[in-house]
């Protein structure tokens, strides 16, 4: 069943239809938020908020457009807001080196090392570049879909993705040699 069909059913009061939409779209939203915000707790909170807003505003969705893009447009905004809020909160608690060292555990595989490295690298690049990179290469949206979701122009998004790739390559290379 298509997203548009499920939306129409949900608007008629079919809870199972909306639950199916959540099943389809919450996982990518949670993944995007986790990579954008850097922690699962904030990501779950933001994703829940997004799903609530999707539900609340469902009647505004134009079924001729991509539901996934519409959901992502809401979600991107929620992540941006959370990033601003979290930025204010985390400055107080991050820079405690002894605690960070105590909390560190040895990695168990090369994949874990690489995952940690790319997550650290993502955290170091500009949020707008990170957002564009994740939407393009992790969520695999087209540039037109990204433009709808972010209200940025396609050429600006391409520039952000390119710069993100360049920065990530540099940071990962430095990380390997550290």
């Amino acid at each position: 069943m298509t997203d548009a069909t499920l939306v129409l059913a949900a608007l008629d009061g079919d809870r199972a239809a909306f639950a199916t939409l959540v099943d389809r779209h919450a996982p990518p939203c949670l993944r995007f938020a986790t990579r954008m915000l850097g922690n699962i707790h904030d990501a779950e909170e933001v994703t829940q908020d997004t799903m609530m807003r999707v539900h609340r505003w469902l009647s505004r969705y134009d079924t001729t457009q991509s539901f996934r893009t519409w959901v992502m447009s809401i979600h991107v905004n929620r992540c941006r807001t959370a990033l601003l809020q979290r930025g204010r909160r985390t400055r107080r608690i991050v820079l405690d080196e002894p605690v960070v060292l105590l909390a560190s555990v040895p990695s168990t595989s090369a994949n874990t090392d690489l995952r940690d490295a790319i997550e650290r690298a993502l955290a170091q690049i500009e949020p707008m570049q990170r957002e564009a990179f994740l939407l393009r290469h992790v969520e695999q949206l087209t540039y037109d879909e990204m433009a709808s979701a972010t209200t940025a122009g396609v050429s600006a998004l391409k520039m952000r993705v390119q710069r993100a790739c360049e920065r990530l390559q540099v940071i990962l290379a430095e990380d390997r040699h550290a």
């Binding site: 829940q48 995952r115 994740l134 540039y143 390119q162």
Partner: protein, 176 residues
């Protein structure tokens, strides 16, 4: 170069790992279902036009002095039935909740002060609160989490503050 959308080969393996997202936790999904079920109540109430007609008739006939039931628009609807002396009934559909209380300006936002009771249908939590005329900001505490009344007007943007709603109690004993 900007037209080249290919991912650099040195990033391919890392991006593959990023595509493997975190799992959806059962507890998280259950909490979301509770929240969604509260929003659904807005639609249920919205499709009861007879309530609106009955409320209007009663208000015209009795001037709102005895009882009143309001059904507002789809976007900010909440049903608030009142009795004499400005008794306001708060209803919340939260079938999965274990404990629900109401907090607001009228009780110092104390989650212990006004626990709600589960109604006979096992799904709805109710409480009658006696309030003097005025404007009150309030919310529900559902299993420790503060949530806005999904069927009442918001007190303002909840983007940067706690979610809350507004109820107005008139001098005639009505509420919206």
């Amino acid at each position: 170069m900007l037209d080249d959308e290919r991912l650099p080969s040195s990033l391919e393996q890392a991006v593959d790992l990023l595509r493997d997202g975190p799992p959806i936790r059962d507890e998280w999904r259950s909490a979301l279902d509770v929240q969604l079920s509260q929003q659904v109540t807005r639609r249920v109430w919205h499709v009861r036009p007879m309530h609106a007609i009955a409320a209007c008739a009663m208000f015209v006939l009795f001037g709102g002095a005895v009882t009143a039931t309001f059904l507002l628009s789809r976007d900010n609807a909440r049903v608030a039935s009142t009795a004499p002396q400005s008794m306001v009934r708060f209803d919340l559909v939260a079938p999965s909740a274990v404990r629900v209380s109401i907090v607001g300006d009228f009780n110092g936002w104390n989650a212990e002060a006004l626990p709600m009771r589960r109604s006979g249908d096992g799904r709805t939590w109710q409480l009658d609160v006696k309030l003097p005329p005025g404007r009150y900001t309030y919310g529900f505490v559902v299993d420790g989490r503060l949530v806005r009344d999904p069927s009442a007007p918001e007190s303002g943007s909840d983007d940067f503050g706690v979610p809350s709603s507004v109820v107005l109690v008139s001098h005639r004993g009505g509420s919206t």
